[in-house]
């Protein structure tokens, strides 16, 4: 009997409460509808406000440069705040420092580490409407704030002007063949980089630059870098894979706009090509467990570089290795040493091997923000077999090499003076060349640089241009370079 009574009572209760339940559902529905309308209204108002042009920051007293208004974030009022309101308008960025409170030290005023405690103003998350609307560049990056999953974006531009003799222009025998007596954008590079996930980091660089071919000047789009690095491998190893500037020698992995001089040293352009060694493959690095820095690298690549290799197949891959170490002699003096090797096959299926050594020294006096003196140099030896008639080395083997060295003095933060000396043989053809290149660099800020240089080159053989037009043995060139960076802050490396 009880077994029937209990379910019966439950059914009666449910039936009795059904109208009230239905009413609740209806009320909830109305409430949700009302909230939805409110949200829509707020969204529309927000979009309208965002669409208005931002008022310019108030010009500070005296007509100095506008500066960003800044606001201190509200501090928890554990104690009366120590007010330090500025009495007068400031020349620099306006500061309204509502200073931090004086928390009772015996008890932590806030729970640790919670993101909710971060007192930076939280940027509103972009809505679908935001994404759909047209944006000025970086408008999305502008919204970056706590909780946003965005990568870093940086853009660098490198503009070069050259002046040289008429015969050098005709022969296209200058440092930038075909670009003599021109102002040209050598490299405009968009860099995207960041964490892919907890285990890997990714870098993609897309480059546009002017290239001269058959007297025509066209823009060429290239992807010099698109690689990922696995960061969490065991035994202090990492693997970098994709398309990359090989870590071969000291300057090969340096981008055009970041080179210590306007041009790459002659020995590198002669043996690795004007763009250096850029390959598709993988590099494994290991940092030794020693008190000083010692990094070893092994790499396997296609061998696409036609100047040095060119086989372009993993059936006969290009193998690279590099060992780099670094010593801080004291707080002011430091030195880096490296040796590199690369071996692969040429398009004619002959072995080609490059061995290099590099050294770099810097003097940074205590308390200085920049080096006072930098001295660096790199040497390269190449051995390869070639198929040419009139072989001077009998068996077709070419054992050639070259080197460069430079010194730079930077007595002031913004100004640097230096000179580079080059000497190199030609990798295949007979002959050699030497060059000297003094230069002055002026950096108004970290993000803008101007460089003026002069380069004198002497060759043992004349370079003749297309259709035997002109010849160049003695070359004098003036370089002017302007480089700038937009976006992500560059990291200066030794």
């Amino acid at each position: 009997m009880r077994a029937i009574l209990v379910p019966g009572l439950i059914v009666v209760f449910l039936l009795g409460s059904a109208p009230a339940f239905a009413e609740d559902v209806e009320a909830l529905r109305r409430e949700v509808e009302q909230l939805r309308k409110q949200l829509q209204s707020v969204t529309e108002r927000l979009l309208a406000i965002e669409a208005r042009p931002a008022p310019p920051p108030a010009a500070p007293a005296g007509g100095t440069a506008p500066a960003p208004p800044v606001a201190t974030t509200p501090a928890p009022q554990a104690a009366p705040p120590v007010a330090t309101a500025p009495a007068a308008p400031q020349a620099g960025p306006a500061v309204a420092p509502a200073p931090p409170p004086t928390p009772a030290l015996a008890s932590a005023s806030q729970p640790p580490g919670g993101l909710t405690q971060a007192t930076q103003p939280a940027a509103p998350a972009p809505s679908l409407g935001d994404y759909a609307r047209p944006h000025q560049p970086f408008a999305l990056a502008e919204r970056r704030g706590p909780g946003q999953l965005l990568f870093d974006i940086g853009l660098s531009a490198d503009l070069v002007a050259t002046l040289t003799q008429r015969n050098v222009e005709k022969a296209q025998g200058g440092t930038f063949p075909g670009e003599e007596n021109r102002f040209f954008p050598r490299s405009i590079e968009l860099g995207l980089f960041g964490q892919i996930d907890p285990y890997a980091r990714g870098v993609v660089r897309i480059e546009v630059g002017e290239e001269a071919e058959n007297g025509e000047h066209d823009f060429k789009v290239d992807v010099p870098e698109a690689h990922l690095t696995l960061l969490t491998l065991p035994w202090n190893t990492q693997i970098k894979m994709g398309r990359m500037l090989n870590r071969f020698g000291m300057l090969n992995q340096i981008h055009e706009d970041d080179l210590p001089q306007t041009d790459r040293p002659n020995v590198l352009t002669r043996f690795l090509g004007p763009e250096g060694l850029i390959e598709n493959g993988a590099e494994l690095t290991w940092v030794a467990p020693l008190p000083f820095y010692l990094e070893a690298l092994l790499g396997i690549f296609n061998g696409d570089n036609e100047t040095a290799f060119g086989r372009a197949s993993l059936r006969a891959p290009l193998a690279t290795t590099r060992i780099r170490t670094f010593f801080e002699i004291d707080d002011a003096n430091a030195i880096q040493l490296g040796v590199s090797a690369a071996t692969g096959e040429t398009t004619e299926k002959h072995r080609s091997t490059l061995v290099g050594a590099d050294i770099k020294y810097k003097l940074v006096p205590e308390g200085w923000r920049h080096p006072l003196l930098t001295i660096a140099g790199e040497g390269l030896v190449s051995t390869r077999k070639v198929d040419v008639s009139g072989d001077l080395d009998r068996d077709g083997t070419r054992l050639r090499g070259g080197w460069y060295a430079y010194a730079e003095v930077q007595p002031w933060l913004r100004w640097a003076f230096g000179a580079r000396y080059d000497w190199t043989q030609y990798p295949v053809n007979p002959g050699s060349e030497w060059a000297v290149e003094p230069y002055i660099t002026f950096k108004p800020s970290e993000f803008l640089r101007f460089r003026l240089g002069y380069k004198h080159t002497e060759r043992t053989n004349r370079v003749t241009g297309p259709d035997d037009r002109g010849s160049a043995r003695l070359v004098d060139e003036i370089f002017f370079q302007a480089s700038f960076i937009l976006g992500a802050h560059p990291t200066d490396s030794f």
């Binding site: 005296g62 400031q90 005023s109 103003p121 502008e142 690095t229 080096p371």
Partner: protein, 306 residues
């Protein structure tokens, strides 16, 4: 084939070599700047072996990455960063150190700026025409001893992630340290209390937290834009303003352009005051307490009317 096998075995042996034995299994902490290293030592005591990437006299805002930094970070169990972009260079070191314990997202790294009340957060879009501004706000919070409770609480959590068995020890040491800081802060506050509201000019805006803590008024900067040498026009206006408002002190750090500051000070009838931008930056500022003792005393001496 045998030669290849031998080479592979030798390589495997080298890779598997664990390296020198750690000093009594202590937690190896590497901090980006020296002040954070001192806090890690205060909380971790003899359980940690702490080192720093930027030397005390270096400008943490402008560090050149060196392979020696990577060698230090290679064996770290915990990486302590300041955050707010001042030590963003650490990412290049992390990539070169081949240490999975400290990569982004790993438990072995901590950003001590989490949870602190950040000063001077830009409220409008910033760009480089304003100089080398920090979009996330002023990063020099380590110069405010009043923020030690929050910063050390975050640090205890991080150390406990690496060595959970010592959490109670870390917390006890933190409380001992905070007791000392509390007593010292009371003394520093007493010393500077008569100078509340005193106006100063700073070369670079790295003193915001220190000055705000002790209610000293930062009126203007020698740099009209952070990180960019001041324009002559700005200096002329600054000198006039200092004369009009009777501002007698320009605060500089070791890497600021002292000559410019001294020229402005001479023309404005003021003096240049060199403060320590961090522990160990100047002689006699090696410890956490030495740093504030020195800076507070220097401020008191310079601002007290004679």
């Amino acid at each position: 084939m045998r030669r290849l096998l031998g080479l592979a075995l030798a390589l495997a042996a080298v890779l598997a070599w664990p390296g020198p034995a750690p000093a009594a299994d202590r937690i190896r902490v590497v901090a980006t700047i020296n002040d954070l290293r001192l806090l890690a030592e205060a909380v971790g005591g003899d359980l940690v072996e702490a080192d720093t990437l930027a030397r005390p006299a270096q400008n943490p805002d402008d560090l050149e990455v060196r392979p020696s930094h990577m060698a230090k970070l290679r064996r770290a169990d915990l990486l302590v960063i300041n955050g707010l972009d001042v030590d963003a260079w650490v990412e290049a070191i992390v990539v070169g150190a081949n240490n999975p314990k400290v990569v982004p997202g790993a438990p072995g790294r901590v950003d001590l700026s989490l949870g602190i009340p950040v000063l001077e957060v830009p409220t409008v879009r910033v760009d480089r025409s304003m100089g080398d501004v920090h979009p996330a706000g002023n990063p020099h919070y380590y110069l405010d001893p009043g923020l030690t409770p929050q910063v050390t609480a975050t640090l205890v959590d991080a150390l406990a992630r690496v060595a959970p068995q010592y959490r109670a020890t870390f917390e006890a040491r933190r409380q001992q340290f905070l007791d000392k800081v509390s007593a010292a802060l009371a003394g520093w506050t007493r010393t500077l209390a008569p100078l509340k509201g005193a106006p100063v000019v700073v070369y670079h805006k790295e003193w915001a937290y220190l000055l705000a803590r002790f209610d000293i008024r930062q009126v203007d900067t020698v740099e009209d834009r952070p990180g960019i040498p001041p324009s002559p026009g700005h200096l002329v206006q600054l000198i006039q303003r200092m004369r009009d408002e009777k501002i007698k002190v320009i605060i500089v750090s070791a890497w600021n352009d002292r000559r410019t500051a001294e020229r402005v000070a001479a023309d404005a009838g003021a003096k240049v005051l060199l403060l320590a931008h961090g522990a160990g930056a100047l002689k006699g500022t090696d410890s956490y307490f030495d740093l504030f003792n020195y800076n507070v005393q220097q401020l008191a001496d310079a601002l007290t009317p004679r």
